[in-house]
C-alpha cells in the first residue's frame, strides 16, 4: 500500500539529480537543455533536486572512472528509494569509445548493481541523445516503474 502510494507520488513529480561520472560534458548540457525554454520539462513537474536525498531519479552521464566509482555508489545509497536511474548517453549505456580506457571502472549500471542488485535502471543511448530522446526515456522509465 505504502509502496503503491510512493510510486504514484513519484510519477507525478519526479525530482532528478544529475551525476556526471566521466562524461564529456555534452550529455550534461543536453540535460540542462531539457530544463530551458525550448523543452522545459518543468512543465511536467520534473525538477532538478539540490541533493541526492531529495531525488527520485538519478541521471547518470558518462562511463564511471575509477575515481568517481565510490562517489557514484555513495550518491546512489543516499537517494530515497524507490529511485530510478537513467543512464544517459552511449558512454553511460555501454562505455562506447571509452571501453578500453585504463581509468574506467565500467558502465554505471554495473557499478550501481554492486551496491543494489535490484536497482531500476533505464537507458537512453545516443551521443549525446537529443533532449527529445531524454524526455521520452524519462517518460518511459516512469511508465515502467
Amino acid at each position: 500500500m505504502l509502496a503503491a502510494l510512493k510510486r504514484w507520488a513519484l510519477k507525478k513529480s519526479p525530482w532528478v539529480y544529475h551525476v556526471n561520472t566521466g562524461a564529456c560534458n555534452n550529455c550534461d548540457i543536453e540535460i540542462l537543455d531539457c530544463l530551458t525554454p525550448r523543452f522545459d520539462v518543468e512543465r511536467f513537474g520534473i525538477l532538478l533536486a539540490p541533493s541526492p536525498r531529495h531525488a527520485d531519479v538519478l541521471l547518470v552521464t558518462g562511463g564511471v572512472t575509477l575515481q568517481a566509482r565510490g562517489a557514484l555508489q555513495e550518491v546512489y545509497r543516499q537517494t530515497a528509494k524507490p529511485c530510478a536511474m537513467l543512464c544517459i548517453g552511449s558512454c553511460a549505456c555501454s562505455m562506447c569509445i571509452f571501453a578500453d580506457g585504463y581509468h574506467m571502472a565500467g558502465p554505471p549500471d554495473k557499478v550501481v548493481r554492486e551496491v543494489d542488485p535490484d536497482a531500476f535502471i533505464a537507458y537512453v543511448p545516443g551521443c549525446p541523445p537529443k533532449p527529445e530522446a531524454i524526455i521520452l526515456g524519462a517518460v518511459k522509465a516512469l511508465g515502467a516503474l
Binding site: 561520472t21 566521466g22 548540457i29 530551458t36 541526492p52 572512472t65 575515481q67 568517481a68 549525446p128 537529443k130
Partner: protein, 393 residues
C-alpha cells in the same frame, strides 16, 4: 580567527562536472583554496595511441562536449604541420565557420550559466533559448547538435551545401539583436555591476605569470589570441579584431565574451561571402616520421596538441593541453581574499571545463610533505603491515 573548510563536490548541483573544491574561509573571506580533479580522467592520450589517424578526431571531439570542433581542429593543425599538406580553401572556410558557430554557442552558454550563478535565472533562460537556433544549424550542417565530427586530416568530412547558407544568414540576423539585448542587459544593470565589477580581479601581471589564455587573459588586458597570432583555417582571410578589456574582473571577462559574439557573427558572415565551390579534402596518403604541433583558439582559450609519428597510421605519443588546465591555477590569484559568496562566480568567470582538464594527479600536502592518503591507501598500508608481521613471525 577560526579557519573553516567548506567542501564542495565532487557532485554538486552547481557543478556540471565532478570536481572537488575546498575553500578555506575565515569569517566571510576565502583565505585558501584547493582543487581536486581527475574524477573525469578517461585516459584519452593513451587511447589515441591505439587508434588510427582517421579515428582519432572522433575521440578528440569527446575530450570536451563544448569544444568539440576546437580539439579536432588542433589535431588537424598538428598533423598538417607534420605532413605539410595543403588544405583546400573551401575546407578552410568550412572549418572557420564551424569553429565560430561553436564559439557563439559556447559563449551564450556561459552567459546563461553566469546569470544563473548570480541568481538571474531570466538571463540563463534567455541565453539558452537563443542558443538553440545555433544547435539547429549544427544539426543541419553536420547531422548532430553537439558533436560535429567535421574535421579530418587534409580538410573536412562533409561539405556544407549552398542551400543551407541562407538559413545560416537568417539565424545570424535573428541572433544579432538578441546578442545586443544580452549585452545591454549586462552593461546597464546596476545589480550586475555591483556583483561583478572589481570582483575577482586577475591583474595583468598575474595573468601573464600564470600563463592564462583565452577570454580569461583577454579580460586582464593580455592581447593574445591564437586566431590572430598564428592564424589557422581561414582566419587570416577574414577581417575581425581581438577583443581586449583591461580591468581583469568578472565584468571584464563577461564583456569580452559578449563582444566576441559579434566578432564571431562578423567572421561567419564573411566566410559565407567568400566561400567558393571546390574540393573539400586533400588526399593525404603517407605521414612521415616526426613530430607536429597544432594550436587552436577554443572558446575558453588556446588548446595545444602534440603528435609524434613513426610513419605508421597511429601516433606513438599524443598530447593534449586544454585551456582550462592553465586557467584553473589562476584562481589562487583572484579567489583569495574574496567573499565566500563570490567564490563560485569568480571560478565560473574563467568558464572552466573540467572534462578536458582532467589529469591523473598526485596530490601532496605541502605542510605534511606527503601525499594525501585515501581510505583505500590506508587499507592497503594496514594489510601490508599485517603481511609483514606475519612473515616475520
Amino acid at each position: 580567527m577560526k579557519r573553516t573548510v567548506v567542501p564542495i563536490g565532487p557532485f554538486h548541483p552547481i557543478l556540471e562536472e565532478p570536481l572537488r573544491f575546498e575553500l578555506h574561509v575565515e569569517g566571510e573571506h576565502v583565505v585558501d583554496a584547493d582543487v581536486r580533479i581527475s574524477h573525469n580522467h578517461r585516459g584519452m592520450e593513451k587511447m589515441c595511441e591505439g587508434l588510427s589517424y582517421d579515428q582519432i578526431p572522433f575521440l578528440l571531439a569527446r575530450v570536451c562536449g563544448i569544444c568539440s570542433a576546437s580539439h579536432p581542429m588542433a589535431f588537424c593543425n598538428a598533423l598538417e604541420d607534420l605532413c605539410g599538406c595543403e588544405v583546400p580553401p573551401r575546407a578552410q572556410y568550412i572549418r572557420t565557420l564551424i569553429c565560430e558557430l561553436e564559439r557563439l554557442h559556447s559563449h551564450l552558454l556561459w552567459v546563461g550559466l553566469a546569470g544563473h550563478f548570480i541568481g538571474y535565472n531570466t538571463v540563463y533562460m534567455w541565453a539558452w533559448k537563443y542558443r538553440e537556433p545555433i544547435l539547429d544549424l549544427f544539426e543541419k550542417v553536420s547531422g548532430s547538435r553537439n558533436h560535429y565530427e567535421n574535421h579530418r586530416v587534409g580538410g573536412v568530412r562533409r561539405d556544407i551545401p549552398d542551400e543551407v547558407f541562407p538559413a545560416i544568414r537568417k539565424t545570424l540576423d535573428e541572433l544579432e539583436p538578441k546578442a545586443e539585448m544580452l549585452l545591454g542587459a549586462v552593461i546597464d544593470d546596476p545589480v550586475i555591476h555591483a556583483r561583478t565589477k572589481g570582483v575577482g580581479v586577475l591583474r595583468n601581471v598575474d595573468a601573464v605569470a600564470y600563463g592564462v589564455t583565452g577570454p580569461t587573459a583577454r579580460g586582464s588586458g593580455v592581447n593574445q589570441d591564437i586566431r590572430d597570432t598564428e592564424p589557422y583555417a581561414a582566419y587570416d582571410k577574414v577581417d575581425w579584431k581581438v577583443v581586449v578589456q583591461p580591468e581583469g574582473d568578472v565584468f571584464a571577462k563577461a564583456a569580452v565574451r559578449l563582444l566576441e559574439n559579434f566578432e564571431s557573427i562578423k567572421i561567419i558572415r564573411q566566410c559565407l561571402d567568400q566561400i567558393e565551390p571546390g574540393p573539400i579534402c586533400a588526399d593525404v596518403r603517407e605521414l612521415p616520421e616526426g613530430e607536429g604541433i597544432g594550436h587552436a583558439e577554443a572558446p575558453r582559450g588556446e588548446t595545444f596538441h602534440y603528435v609524434r609519428s613513426d610513419g605508421t597510421n597511429r601516433p606513438v605519443r599524443y598530447k593534449v593541453r586544454a585551456p582550462t588546465f592553465v586557467n584553473v591555477p589562476s584562481f589562487k590569484a583572484n579567489v583569495i581574499g574574496a567573499e565566500l559568496a563570490d567564490a563560485m562566480l569568480i571560478v565560473a568567470a574563467m568558464d572552466p571545463c573540467y572534462s578536458c582538464t582532467q589529469r591523473m594527479s598526485l596530490i601532496r600536502d605541502d605542510t605534511r610533505q606527503q601525499s594525501v592518503i585515501t581510505h583505500d591507501e590506508l587499507l592497503q598500508l594496514s594489510w601490508a603491515k599485517t603481511e609483514r608481521i606475519r612473515r616475520q613471525c
